[in-house]
Symmetry: C2
Subunit: 373 residues, 2 copies
């Protein structure tokens, strides 16, 4: 079976995009196809097109949306590395920027002058997003000069806006009703956390309350990963993300440390001063330190920044400007909350870049394991 697919880079993620017409609609069959195509049963995804890291083992299925006012539906898949399974519970903002560019480049939406708006619905979470793709001159561009923290490579500029992101998964911006609260993790003293649902359900730990800083190196973050995973699993039922008796997964809630800004050096070796940003953030992606920050998490952090008691508000030392600047290992990611109503943002925007890397036909073994033809 040869399945058409397009490899895109969206920001700091790589993602294979499949059009719905080429893959099974039934979720179980689709999962089998992705596991086989990626070589997902293997820890290094040797026998397939997977990239063997959480940020390069992603997929999305794209289709024209039946929803009025929405151009594109996409279903995001976090393809497991060595597990032979797919996580279906989260969204990926980086991939959404790739979806927006793909929609324009493949003619799924008409080009409208120098910028083309693509309205997208994420099937996993119900999130609605708007991608504003640079189509200068009324043309699709294969390459561009827009960069994002975490890579020096340029891409086509895509402004990504999350529309009314609060409460999409749980029904509430604050699933526990509190902007911040103490959380007892294992047998240690409680730590201060904010559990918010905006962009994605996220649990943010006040780093200082956990004897950490929020400005840890990726190496240091690896030693904190098991503990943060316990925080995730402790928060999940409190956020209403688990049915009773269900085992917690590793995709939601997202989890990370938040701290005060301090001078640090990015993974690309650039010096960042404390005054260059507002809060330090160190997130996990699945069970590994995120090299930058997932955009859905960035939305949650920025939205939490609007709430007076939250761990983000405290770390930032009070209210910030229009843009909240997040200090991540890869560099500073700026997030803009606008169109505020009752304290909730109607629009949360990040400036990103995307690039098509390859159009392919993937040889997919007919089951999760390779077979004789």
């Amino acid at each position: 079976m040869h399945t058409p697919a397009t490899l895109v880079r969206g920001g700091t993620s790589k993602c294979w995009l499949f059009h719905q017409v080429h893959v099974p609609a039934e979720r179980g069959e689709l999962e089998k196809l992705l596991v086989a195509a990626y070589g997902s049963t293997d820890p290094v995804e040797l026998d397939g097109v997977g990239g063997a890291t959480p940020t390069t083992s992603k997929a999305a299925v794209v289709s024209a949306s039946p929803e009025p006012g929405t151009d594109i539906d996409y279903l995001f898949a976090q393809v497991g590395i060595g597990t032979g399974t797919v996580e279906w519970t989260s969204n990926c903002g980086n991939c959404a920027t790739g979806v927006a560019l793909y929609a324009v480049a493949k003619g799924l939406v008409p080009i409208t002058g120098d910028r083309t708006r693509v309205t997208m619905r994420n099937i996993n979470t119900g999130a609605v997003l708007e991608g504003l793709v640079d189509t200068t001159g009324g043309l699709v561009h294969d390459f561009g000069e827009q960069t994002v923290p975490g890579t020096r490579a340029g891409g086509v500029a895509v402004g990504l806006t999350f529309l009314d992101p609060a409460g999409r998964t749980t029904g509430h911006l604050l699933p526990t009703g509190q902007a911040a609260q103490e959380l007892k993790v294992g047998t240690a003293d409680p730590v201060l956390v904010s559990m918010v649902d905006a962009g994605a359900p996220v649990v943010l730990v006040d780093a200082r309350s956990a004897a950490r800083t929020g400005s840890e190196t990726l190496e240091q973050m690896r030693t904190h990963t098991p503990w943060l995973r316990t925080v995730r699993h402790t928060a999940a039922p409190l956020m209403g993300l688990l049915e009773p008796g269900q085992a917690p997964g590793d995709a939601v809630p997202k989890v990370g440390l938040v701290g005060e800004p301090v001078p640090y050096t990015t993974t690309l070796g650039e010096a960042v001063a404390a005054e260059d940003y507002d809060v330090s953030v160190r997130m996990l992606t699945m069970n590994a330190p995120h090299p930058a920050i997932g955009l859905t998490s960035a939305v949650a952090v920025a939205t939490a920044g609007l709430l007076e008691d939250s761990v983000v508000f405290r770390a930032a030392g009070g209210p910030t400007g229009d843009w909240l600047r997040l200090g991540t290992p890869a560099g500073v990611v700026a997030v803009r909350c606008s169109d505020l109503r009752d304290g909730l943002p109607g629009r949360v925007t990040v400036q990103r870049a995307a690039r098509l890397l390859a159009d392919a036909r993937i040889y997919v073994p007919r089951t999760g394991r390779a077979q004789a033809a």
Copy 2:
């Protein structure tokens, strides 16, 4: 620029294959294309099709051979990760199995019954190889059930034979004229090594003489990597691989530890008894522990096993059968030396598997850096 390419798995390597007609013949221009296509300037090869590990950041350029009796020429490229450069000095046997399957699948050689022989010349080293591809029923197979140590995935069986492999790079099986000798590495006591040129130029360290075992875990090997790199750099000029004043590279000679067989557990969790194999081998690939063994190195180890004084002969405890069984982190790789003349093997064979993963058109930025279109 959209460049056609095919992603193959050959054994435990992933490699993009380009046909010569689609890429520049001039080496500098070709290097620019590969660097741009792979995103090679970035340490995680985010902006391209590279796999960001030494065994998944490989390429080869394939063409019909003008040489009588040879079907296919291929030029191997070890695409640097984060360097923006390509190493051109080595061959890759795993990739050669992929080249053989590709040659059959793309119709570059005629199918001849249940097995199809593909004679290949490696442009980098002058090595001549024979791939015997399973074409049961006179058909090309997309999938197969043959496995190799290091992955549970099946592929199409490809028997790979190196023809007259001794001395291809330096002119001599033993570039220093000795089957084993003491080598002073840095300021420490000398260690016992064999420097052999068969398949590839390789320096093999008697693990015991270096207070090591040859059965180290990959984690342990990471701590030995800087030292082994020093061994490589010390051996390179003695093997005639460096012009005076030239800085040593990381592709040749290949370097590794050889020791006696002991019980161990493979990276896939399988138990291996000491009697299941003849010698322990732990190699580097570029500057990282090899998860298994490069086939060109396997040829060197097997050929050294024929030499009474070599570190391989000593570790094996004397002569072995037709097949020398190498205990690698991923499992046991068996190598057969045959057609012996004057003690040199005319044929060195390994049983491997390969699979086509994807046919693609790669969007290649026009220089090493992405550009506006």
